[in-house]
């Protein structure tokens, strides 16, 4: 198990300096994900897992999830609504994610259909994503994900935006294709804490997050996220999780992104809700 962990961590932090033209999307739309540094790729996080690892929806009876975030001092708005339902070990889900700016005529939608299958300590999942928007004629992409349990670790592997191709209303080349992204995730869960990490080897993103449950219903979280574009961008996050509040899980996070560069965090507040249909 230790060897697996070492290999995993080594892979996580050995970034391949790929700065390819990856798909431009909000890949961390949840307050839970934000509070955990984006590291939800090895977690069974319910309907919000559609945005991270589709295999992660295969736990509980399903539910609804909604999140609203305001990026970059509020100039970029993102809403993510998803729902899942479980039929024994087979889970289905769907999601719609909208992203739009203030004071600019542009919007993009991603419609996702999700399937996941749970096999004991293992799960597999898949998203089929359809892209629409003000400047998008159409587009498709697919996400594949798996979660497996090795000892006390959950390991996640995601191939995101596979076969991605979008037709834009452009003048140069209407069809733009994108590389599939390889993402690994790790979850080390103990009764007193839950440690998570992830790395996206294609987009040069990584993050770690720690959740500490104070009671059965209340947890505090902290996370760190880093992206390696042409400059490093750092985020420190904190958040809370309130579980099963009249059937809802409530996530609130506050993120300090590039605080020192701008004397203010540019992506502060995330709020997300999950309504659970009830576990099996």
């Amino acid at each position: 198990m230790r060897r697996a962990l070492i290999i995993f961590l080594t892979l996580t932090f050995l970034f391949i300096p790929v700065f390819a033209g990856i798909l431009d999307e909000v890949d961390d739309p949840s307050a839970y994900g934000s509070a955990m540094g984006g590291a939800l790729y090895a977690l069974y996080a319910g309907p919000q897992s559609i945005a991270y690892n589709p295999a992660g929806i295969s736990e509980g009876g399903g539910g609804l999830f909604f999140s609203h975030i305001e990026h970059y001092f509020g100039t970029i708005r993102n809403e993510f609504l998803s729902g899942t339902y479980g039929f024994n070990d087979l889970y289905i889900g769907s999601a719609i994610e909208s992203t739009y700016p203030l004071n600019l005529d542009y919007f993009q939608y991603i419609l996702s259909g999700t399937f996941a299958y749970r096999m004991g300590n293992n799960a597999l999942g898949m998203n089929v994503n359809y892209w629409m928007g003000s400047d998008i004629v159409n587009g498709v992409s697919m996400d594949f994900g798996g979660i497996t349990k090795i000892g006390e670790l959950n390991l996640g592997l995601v191939v995101k935006n596979a076969f991605a191709s979008i037709t834009w209303v452009g003048t140069v080349s209407n069809v733009e294709t994108y590389p599939a992204e390889i993402i690994t995730g790790l979850d080390y869960s103990r009764p007193s804490f839950d440690l998570n990490a992830f790395a996206n080897f294609t987009s040069d993103e990584a993050g770690v997050g720690l959740r500490i449950p104070l009671t059965d219903f209340f947890s505090v979280m902290g996370g760190y996220n880093v992206t390696f574009g042409i400059q490093q961008s750092n985020s420190l996050s904190t958040g809370i999780m309130i579980k099963n509040y009249f059937g809802f899980d409530i996530f609130v996070s506050y993120t300090f992104q590039n605080l020192f560069e701008f004397s203010d965090t540019i992506n502060p507040l995330y709020v997300s809700f999950t309504y659970n249909f009830g576990g099996k």
């Binding site: 431009d24 961390d28 970029i76 987009s203 993103e205 042409i230 560069e261």
Partner: protein, 638 residues
């Protein structure tokens, strides 16, 4: 009759009676209480002040009791004060006046012989009363533009205050000139300068307020005293040679600059023509200045500004005066002058016109169009003529007109010892003036012997550059003249610097340019240079963002997105371009000037995927501390 009365028997009896009465009453009268008038001081005072009521009475030994009866008319009440302050024969009652009212007072002395009453003294607190925050301003520097000041006047009395204002001596404008202020209210009186003050002299100007305040010596107030001069700089009114001329004429403006204890470093005169602005750097000699402009097109010419740069107390300062005198220029025919460039086979055609010229050279039976370059209202075309004798005709036609101007010059091949005689008979050039053989071109209107090269280029932005290569062997230095948009450097002439290019990077050059409003001259070797603005960031200033825009906000196709920042102070900035994942895909640090639309970053879309991005900018007065941030979205669709 009297003697009869006195010396008769009856009269003697009466005389004794009279004597007895005299002996009885004179001592009695001699020892009666003597009192002076009761006085109130001050008679006019403010509520809360103390009035002193005083009287003298003698002999004091006769006084059994003293008191003062005081009648308050507004309260309709009478008070009796007993405890007089006694000093010898002087009795006084200080009284704290706690009401706005009219008062009457009477002193009362009780003696063994009876009660003695004084006269009635009056005083009042029911008055108008002015309170003025006077100011004394020392203005050591006289200029055409001097600040205004305001003084607050308050009525602290209970009655309406009426006032008038005046300047003593004249030279101040005081507003309002008269007015009234109700009890408890105040008004602001503005003071400004209207006089013409000469540098080198001292002036003392008082702003006076006169009012109906009845208090002693309180009816006249000094609102402000202005001690003006002796240093300073004054520009006298401008006179123009003409206010209506034909195109091609010169207009001359005259003015004087008077100054004391300053050093004038430059004087710019700015003319606004119908579609351009020209700035002239005037030579500094004496106090009298003149500037002239040649009119090249019809319309209104305006002598718009005089800018004087000067040094005062070690500070480099600038005075701007805006005469804005208009001259009406009416249309006249277009013109073209030819200049043969000595030592070359080139001819320059310089054309003045209000419309675009088309230029042709007819040389050796070949018609060749000459490209023209527009600088201001002048077009210049250069043509390299053939190495053969004969005539060359330069023809200019003008867009939208039937006008054609044609001028010809001649070339001569000097083959031997021969003098050149020209048809007008005025000029003979000896053969020894030329090598043998030589091609000599001659144009009688103008012959330019200059052998230096002046490079020029017109710039739309301050960051444009000019590149010159010497055509002279050995390579020599050039006078570079770079032009730029006036609006780019409005008020920032001292910030204009020369930057030189080396291996693709720009460096601040040690070359100090001679900067005028629209162009800068400097002397340098061959190379590529640009004008730039260097910031003057002050640690104490907190800059703020006036605007931050992306152009275009939606980029369609490959190209650049440019980000423009407008700030209210010179500052440092840092711009990050984020994609939706929070990755930084563009980055720039730098400094921004207090001008409109600093180009802070240019992002090429080739490196980006299609989609939505955000530019976040932070500004501050230190390179790593930002006091304000702002973000804007933009879209790339290639």
């Amino acid at each position: 009759m009297i003697g009869e009365f006195c010396f008769s028997k009856k009269g003697g009896k009466d005389l004794r009676k009279l004597l007895w009465l005299f002996l009885v009453f004179v001592p009695t009268l001699s020892f009666a209480l003597q009192i002076s008038s009761l006085t109130a001081n001050p008679v006019f005072l403010l509520k809360g002040d103390t009035v002193n009521l005083s009287i003298s009475a003698s002999p004091s030994s006769m006084i059994v009791k003293s008191s003062l009866a005081l009648y308050d008319s507004s309260a309709n009440a009478t008070y009796v004060l007993y405890n007089a302050q006694i000093s010898g024969n002087n009795y006084s009652w200080p009284y704290y006046v706690g009401d706005s009212s009219n008062y009457r007072a009477q002193a009362i002395f009780s003696t063994s012989a009876g009660t003695v009453y004084s006269n009635t003294a009056t005083f009042t607190t029911n008055i108008p009363a002015a309170s003025v925050q006077s100011t004394i301003v020392t203005i050591p520097f006289i200029s055409n533009v001097m600040s205004s000041y305001s003084v607050n006047v308050k009525n602290i009395g209970s009655q309406t205050l009426y006032f008038t204002t005046e300047s003593s001596p004249t030279g101040l404008s005081i507003s309002p000139e008269e007015g009234q202020i109700f009890s408890g209210e105040s008004t602001s009186i503005s003071l400004s300068f209207t006089g013409f003050f000469l540098p080198g002299k001292n002036y003392t100007l008082d702003a006076i307020l006169k009012s109906n305040d009845p208090r002693t010596n309180m009816s006249t107030y000094l609102l402000g005293r202005f001690l003006v001069g002796p240093d300073g700089l004054e520009i006298t009114p401008v006179e123009l040679s003409n206010t209506k001329v034909g195109v091609g004429s010169d207009i001359t403006a005259y003015f004087s600059i008077l100054y004391s204890d300053v050093t004038v470093s430059y004087v710019y005169a700015i003319w606004a023509t119908p579609n351009n602005t020209y700035t002239f750097n005037l030579p500094l000699s004496g106090n009298n200045f003149s500037t002239n402009i040649n009119t090249t097109m019809a319309g209104t010419y305006t002598f718009s500004k005089i800018i004087v740069g000067y040094t005062y107390n070690g500070q480099n300062l600038q005075m701007v005066l805006s005469p804005n005198i208009n001259v009406s220029v009416y249309d006249v025919p277009n013109s073209m002058n030819l200049t043969l460039i000595n030592g070359t086979q080139k001819v320059a055609a310089v054309i003045s016109s209000s419309s675009t010229p088309t230029l042709y050279a007819f040389d050796n039976s070949v018609n060749t169009q000459i490209p023209v370059v527009k600088v201001g209202q002048t077009w210049t075309g250069t043509y390299t003529y053939a190495n053969t004798p004969g005539q060359v005709t330069i023809t200019s036609s003008f867009q939208g007109t039937q006008t054609v101007i044609s001028k010809t010059f001649s070339r001569y091949m000097v083959q031997g010892n021969q003098n050149l005689y020209f048809s007008d008979g005025w000029i003979t050039i000896p053969s020894s003036a030329f090598p043998n053989p030589a091609l000599v071109a001659f144009y009688s209107e103008n012959f330019n012997p200059s052998s230096y090269y002046t490079g020029y280029s017109t710039f739309n932005q301050i960051s444009d550059s000019i590149s010159l290569v010497s055509t002279i062997t050995p390579a020599s230095s050039f006078d570079y003249t770079l032009y730029f948009n006036t609006e780019s450097v409005n008020g920032l002439l001292g910030n204009v610097k020369v930057y030189s290019e080396n291996n693709g990077n720009w460096y601040l050059s040690s070359i100090i340019p001679n900067v005028t409003i629209q162009m800068a001259n400097f002397y340098a070797k061959t190379g590529t240079y640009a004008l730039g603005l260097n910031t003057q960031i002050e640690a104490g200033q907190i800059p703020s963002i006036d605007s931050f825009v992306a152009v275009p906000a939606k980029l369609i196709g490959n190209g650049n997105v440019q980000f423009f920042l407008t700030v209210d102070e010179d500052c440092y900035y840092q711009i990050y371009i984020y994609d939706l994942r929070g990755r930084i895909v563009g980055y720039q640090k730098g400094t921004a000037l207090k001008i409109n639309n600093n180009l802070v970053y240019t992002l090429n879309s080739a490196q980006l995927s299609n989609g939505l991005y955000t530019a976040v900018i932070g500004i501050g007065n230190s390179p790593n501390g930002f006091s304000q941030s702002k973000s804007i979205p933009f879209v790339v669709v290639k």
